[in-house]
Symmetry: D2
Subunit: 307 residues, 4 copies
């Protein structure tokens, strides 16, 4: 089938390749003329035969919102828009309403797999009506891993369910990565462990903790033993935060996912943790505990009891 | 080669099968005569040709300690004992010393894979001297998954390193399982998600969070949709506790693993959390907050200011 | 001075008493005629001389919003509204705008102290313009504890700052209460401690951990030794959730406050933790671990390896 | 009464002053001749009339152990040793046995209050036999805050109970300080809060969160606004670790106290968190996420999919 694809960044470009290789015709639009097939969003719509399917693969938030708004103006009843980006699920109802008012269908699709998806296929989590999802199945089948459709694709529920599932997926991802991180740190701290990378590698087959992420961690350690080339400064893309916010909304204890999120926050406090400055100042106040000044020098015990 | 195997419980029996199928001769001893090849530990030793290799696969703690002590009496210089159970790594130096004083070698081996190891092979983490480990390699090769040895086996370091690695493995396992648990709970709490099991299944291929544990979770949900047949009461076998204790010893922040451990503790407080009783009592004291009595009835606001 | 007071519940009634005892004239309105001084909000406004000050002390959310909206209709330029409830700080800008458009001033005031405030005075955190706050100072002075104004009152910043400060106050309160709760639980678990209540009482003077909350905990234990009359079921009023949401917004690691919040969530899962059901199901799947069924019976090891 | 006091450091010297001012005779020994009343431990014992009471106030661990061992040699049946330091409670049974074998009594006493104890009195938590504790009451009464004995002193149980209570006290202290720290950090992060120090000060009277620690935090902020002179590097003296270890032993969920402990660990990782390096490396591996190199430079997206 024919697909319009808006956004040809790293993810979009890889997806175009995978969809094309499956035999579909992709017309891509990107603001960078050197990678774009057409000159404008209007041209993209003009280049597709109705009923059109347009996949939006641009940054979440304002870029996605304005693209969907433009498509609502340009498309026709019977067309379908798929938001494949990392939008917050609360945007989906808004998009579905704006498009639905004009007879245009809407699907939200969470896409996982990163740069490896080109080769392995992407895990897909989809929200929308049965009819809309049915129509787009050939594209989903092109993108997902080969094999049983249910192992890499789900129609999780109505509009919003796809991005909700992807959000939770990413929250779980935070927890998994941090669990491996703590294990790595502990192995590296213990003198008995002469071969940290080899130990992690030995976990990749047969063990209970084997996973794709673990294989990637071994790969990273092979490329950079001791991870000496990398900083611990770790950003977050929003979905971990949203997951914890949803946990709060649903009264779900999310101790593991929130701990992983907060550790990233802490990693970015380049001038130190204000909370721990307060703790250190308190210990100094009630006395008996040496502290460091802001230059890192030990300043001894300066707690001053009242005169 | 020949192997003496002490302990033919679920793990031991499966391992015997796997080792035998690889062409080795296994003489097994178990206190239950109906499953044992010999009548006593002494008979086991007598049935093996020197230099002997005896694999101990009994519960950690006292049972393992007393088995090793008996073997120290029965074996001869040049023989080797392998502790394949979940012993605390601090036991290993003791065992190595007691055996080494008599010229007997010692290897500690962490074994992961559970009941699936029979079919898939077991992940092995080994501590000991090069010579001792070298001599036992045929057995390790029989037990580990097929393919590259380094993907399911590691000689992690000197005596103790194998159990240390297994302990950390299990700590990581706690974190991974709880991360999936939180994700499952959140998906199940959200009405948009019409197909929780299908969503988790769709994560098993292509996504960043794919893993063997995730496949098992899908399997569990297929067998018992909604997990309605299972209690949340979750035991722990010791290695999670030891991992957090090691984290404390090495000053490693283990927020994720400890959160997973503490959640298990909380699941076993059948008469409620004393800490939260204290919190609830406090809220009642300063007033304005209704509480429940021990029978679960709301008893309104009973906070009593001073007369 | 004269004050209109909307809401004569537990907090409002106590505050009326304290303000009246300080020599001010309070005209109170409450939907329950038996406690109200006037028949309607309009009558309340009619009973006050301009420039009026009206303190709103009703539940946060819709009740406060509709009260403020009504007052915007009834009051005159130069009057002032004070929201003393536990509103989310994001409501304050909305209220200030709606009132300000009509020339009416607005102050948000966080009030802490519970039922003890009547006797001890209330801690007050205020947001608003200098002029508005200055005009209401006599009321704040009547409500706050005696002594130095700065020890129980702060003009923390512009509109919103008062409720923001109160929200953080409550978040901290969650953390403090849970820290004491954990300490209580640990003392109660240790056989060496023959006198748990006495130990906590001994902490109330001289120690680093002495506080008013600790005194309340001792009081609760004196009234109900062992806290046997109370359930661990613990509700939350919203401000703990908001605090964690703000921590996420500001990238502040809030491990302690979120742990205290999540523990309350867990205490309300009357049919068990879905996350731990998943963990327990996983342990059962990979085998070797007995689990409990939903009726709490041990069902042994049912993990089923593949055929 | 007469008291021998071993250790005249900051705490010991203050305690000597307070005990002397209560009318007791203190003979102090310290290895620094300029502050010591006697030349040796033997001289100290010689200077006291039987039955003697000797208070040991030296660093926990080896120094305390060797002092107690020496006293076991020097003292006579009927004498009593009090360990007032921060010993781990597991040392107490050992000390009590060694001394008891010679007819010498033993009391463990946790002391809280820091440099302020000289003025305010110290909170005391005591373990030992009724007879031993009874005999030492005059000293405890001199040290504790004035007023009701039960508000600053407890005979918590048999030998070990005093240090156990002090250990838990310190664990709670970790949680309390970190809760305030998180609140401080959040207030400082929010632009609406124009007066962070004033807000915390306003919490010191009337509010639910008022406490001595809060007063110290305000004092610290008055001395060093913004805490700009202090590093977040925060040490720990052992009792927080022991508290979490005890929580593990008793299966008590200690999420708050452990989070506070782990935050201190993290504050001391001067070359960054290995766990977060692993997380960052993983994000880089699966692509799409820019990372920082070890010098802090953004190195863009270097994730390399397979060829």
């Amino acid at each position: 089938m024919q697909l319009g694809l808006v956004g040809l960044g790293k993810m979009g470009a890889n997806m175009r390749t995978r969809i094309s290789e499956a035999g579909h015709e992709v017309v891509g639009f990107d603001p960078r003329p050197e990678v774009s097939d057409v000159a404008s969003l209007a041209d993209l719509v003009g280049a597709l035969q109705a009923p059109r399917t347009v996949w939006v693969m641009v940054p979440s938030g304002e870029p996605t919102r304005s693209t969907v708004a433009s498509l609502a103006e340009l498309l026709e009843p019977g067309d379908t828009v798929i938001d494949g980006g990392n939008s917050r699920y609360t945007d989906d109802a808004v998009h579905a309403k704006a498009l639905g008012d004009k007879g245009i269908g809407y699907i939200d699709c969470g896409v996982s797999g990163g740069v490896w998806g080109l080769k392995n296929g992407y895990g897909l989590m989809v929200g929308g009506s049965d009819a809309d999802v049915e129509r787009a199945l050939p594209i989903f089948d092109a993108l997902r891993p080969p094999g049983d459709r249910a192992d890499g694709f789900v129609h999780a529920g109505p509009v919003g369910a796809g991005h909700y599932a992807k959000m939770v997926h990413n929250g779980v991802e935070y927890g998994l990565m941090h669990a491996y991180g703590e294990g790595y740190e502990l192995l590296a701290a213990e003198p008995l462990i002469a071969d940290v990378e080899g130990t992690l590698r030995a976990w990749t087959q047969g063990t209970v903790v084997r996973s794709w992420l673990l294989e990637l961690l071994v790969r990273a350690l092979q490329e950079d033993p001791g991870l000496s080339e990398i900083s611990d400064y770790t950003t977050d893309s929003g979905e971990g935060r949203w997951t914890v916010e949803e946990a709060i909304r649903h009264s779900v204890p999310a101790n593991v996912i929130s701990a992983a999120l907060f550790a990233r926050f802490a990693s970015r406090q380049d001038s130190g943790s204000p909370a721990l400055k307060a703790v250190s100042a308190l210990r100094n106040q009630f006395g008996g505990h040496s502290v460091r000044d802001s230059a890192g020098r030990s300043v001894g015990e300066t707690g001053s009891p009242p005169a």
